[in-house]
Amino acid sequence: MNLISTCGVGIRFGGRRILRDINLSIREREIVTIVGPNGSGKTTLLRVLIGAQSPTEGVVTRGAGVSIGYVPQRLAIDRSMPLTVSRWLRLAGAHQASDRQRMAERVDIVGLLGEQMTSLSGGEFQRALLAQALLARPALLVLDEPTQGLDQLAVASFYRLIEAVRGEIGCAVLMVSHDLHVVMRSSDHVICLNGHVCCEGTPTVVSAAPEYQALFGFGAEGALALYRHEHDHRHDHADTTDTHAG
């Protein structure tokens, strides 16, 4: 069953086209990762999927009763608002105190429940955001670059935590990520985005795709792929010219 799917979704801001012709679907318990360069419309696509923005073209279909837990890229809590970690977790809705306690223990923030949200470190803050998103037991967990600003060690442990809680709660995960090596290890499905879907599939398929390598072009292999890709293109062009000449 598809939790959420899009059909021909596009977004225009003024005259600019940010996204076009996005067709994707997310199944139960699947981990889907969106990768793409800056300005490729990743965050916009997430905002369309969670319902924060209506697409200017196409439709988004959300399965009946599918709840979404969302971890935003950044959350600037104004210093004028007092907010303890415990009160933040209660914003998830009316849950048992024991549920909140268990979730806080699960993501290792139980000692911080009485602290102000604004006093947490980057990693603690991300775990508090994750805990709140998970408390509602969502069918789909959506994360927008959740590890931005964390150090390598914290990044690795944050992704391990997400994989583990996905197993426990049984939700699907959709995330935008810059941490390509992690993505390639833990995703079921990777979508490479650059205004449109360049290529998609399992991590092995995507990492071998010329479109993906052209966008990210790592190391010698990536550079070679990029060269080969361009060469193919020129060759095609030459063929066409030949045909015309003939």
């Binding site: 319902g51 924060a52 979404i68 608002m81």
Partner: protein
Amino acid sequence: MTIVMTTQTQQTPMLDDFLIRAALAGIGLALAAGPLGCFVVWRRMAYFGDATAHAAILGVALSLAFSLSLFVGVLVAALAMSLGVLALAGRLYTMDTLLGVAAHGALALGLVAVSFLPGGRVDLMAYLFGDILAVSQLDIAVIWIGAVVVLILLRLRWQALLLVTLSTDLAAARGYDARREQLILTLALAVLVAVAIKIVGALLITAMLIIPAAAARSMSRTPESMAVIAAIVGLCSIISGLSASFYWNTPTGPTMIVAAIILFVLASLWSVVNRGR
């Protein structure tokens, strides 16, 4: 002798009467202004509150010209102003610029409009700075109904309003509509302005919203405690301001705001001292 006694017994209750009426009116305002003021502070809507309040003078002209009740005239003007600004914001001008145009435009237009009204000059001081000592029993009823409406709106939408204030995307993922919650706050603000104009006047309404909430910030750990403490600070400002203005014969509305400022300064000092420890 009997006559003298009657006059005396009648005078004392009358004296109490207008003070008690003023206190009742002020308490109603403070209870609603505290929690609503917290949202004004959290969402940085101070200037928005100012514009809504200044539109009240246009509302005064409206209600005098069409013989409407003051409450209705001010409510209509305040709502029209805030909805207009919300609709136009972000297109060509920022909210800040639009509010600057709207706030002073409404105030100036209102003052000019009032001067055109027949039947001599209206005493504008009462509308600009309030006249709490002149509130009638009907005024008190209107103020309390308005305050209760504001509190019920906030109570019903509390969770959604907090989420929208923290992040509109987070609220959207949860199924809340940011625009609708913004409209609810706008409506609550317009109602509060309409009931507050009699008490503190158009120029000082924002002060009753912001100062108690700001004073409460340093003493609170959760949004709820800040809302409750803001209401209490507002209450103390009203009562102490009222007594002070009675003893020193100072204008009542401004005296209540001065009392609130004193509480704000004390709260700030208290938090500085506590942090030092």
